[in-house]
Each structure stands twice: as structure tokens, then as C-alpha cells.
Symmetry: C2
Subunit: 112 residues, 2 copies
């Protein structure tokens, strides 16, 4: 698959694509990050999860500062081409708080 | 938790929040949808996954037309309050194509 072929799969290559990150072993959902076509291409070629940081507005090799890299096993596009599922082997933890997953705040059901 | 307390947890209550949907039994990631505060409140109170349809611009009770409802087990907010993880029991399949999951298009690694 060439870069243009890849881009042709995306619903809107100009937009950031949400990327769900799942631990390939525990199947735990670790985080939600965003990719642009450049970071997606880097991830596909290097096997190391690379996102686009919306806060810093720059490419973000996950783990570059923390050491908590993500080795990518698979990337799947969803049926309408506007979301990605990335399965990874996580070194250390995914969340900057030190938790295994960023999703560690359960909301109470029947709360409203 | 009251509605204002819930809303105070969200990074930007005016924005749509991406919601990762995971099968609570198989731990498969089924889809990515979007919620606004109204659909999140409906989901929390009813236990039935309700999203905001960006294409139809209306509330979307998943399964209302297909019968493929999602019974919600848990909802977790991520560390920075701008994404949700929803675990569900899926009736039928999640994807409108008939596939179990919307993420059924693997991309080739080392492709670029």
C-alpha cells in the first residue's frame, strides 16, 4: 500500500483521526490519541506508535520523553474511514498519571 | 453525581466527546461514536448506549432501528476529560456492515 492509497482510505485526510490504543495482551483500552497522515505513515513504517499532539501541535513519538513506548502490532481502520484501532505492547504505563490506562475515572450509572 | 457535577468533569462540555465502545465480555473494541452531554446523561440514566449522530445531527439510541442495542456496564472518563470508554453487552453486531466490529480493515505494517 502506497501513501496515496493509504490516504485514499481515509474519510478526510486533512483531519486528525482519533486512534484508540488497546493493549494486545490484556486487551485493555489504554488511551485515545490522534493521528494525522504523517504520524500514521511513521507508525506504519517504524512500528512505534506516533501521534499528533494537539496541545503541543507537533509529532509525538509516544514514550520519547517517558520511555513508555508502544510497539504496534496492528492498525485497523473502521468501516467509514474516520477512526483507527491500534493494538500495542506497552512499555511501562500508558497514562502520564502513572495509571496503566488513561480511562481510570468510572462514572456512576443511574446518576442523573 | 448531578448533571452539573458531571459536566464539570468534561474538558469542554460544548464539544462532542469521542466514546470508545468495548464489548465487556470479549473485550473487543466495537466502534467509536460521539456523545454530547445530553446523550451521556441519557446513557447514564437509561443504561442503553445513546450517542449523537454527526451525520444526522440528532440523538441516536444505538439499535433503535436495527435492534442491535448496547446495554451499558460502565463508562469511564479519561485522565484529561475529553474521551470516554463505554463497556457494553452488544445485541447482534455493532457494525452496520454486519461485521462484529467496525474495525475490520487491517492496514499493512511497514507499508510506506
Amino acid at each position: 500500500m502506497t501513501n496515496p492509497e493509504l490516504i485514499s482510505l481515509l474519510k478526510d485526510p486533512e483531519l486528525l483521526i482519533p486512534a484508540i490504543v488497546q493493549d494486545v495482551n490484556t486487551r485493555e483500552v489504554l488511551m485515545l490519541a490522534y493521528m494525522n497522515t504523517q504520524s500514521l505513515a511513521m507508525t506504519l513504517s517504524s512500528g512505534r506508535a506516533t501521534y499528533w499532539s494537539r496541545s503541543r501541535n507537533e509529532l509525538w513519538v509516544k514514550g520519547a520523553t517517558s520511555g513508555h513506548f508502544q510497539q504496534v502490532h496492528s492498525i485497523s481502520l473502521d468501516c467509514d474511514g474516520d477512526a483507527l484501532l491500534v493494538t500495542v505492547t506497552q512499555t511501562g504505563v500508558a497514562c502520564h498519571t502513572g495509571e496503566v490506562t488513561c480511562f481510570h475515572k468510572p462514572l456512576p450509572m443511574s446518576a442523573l
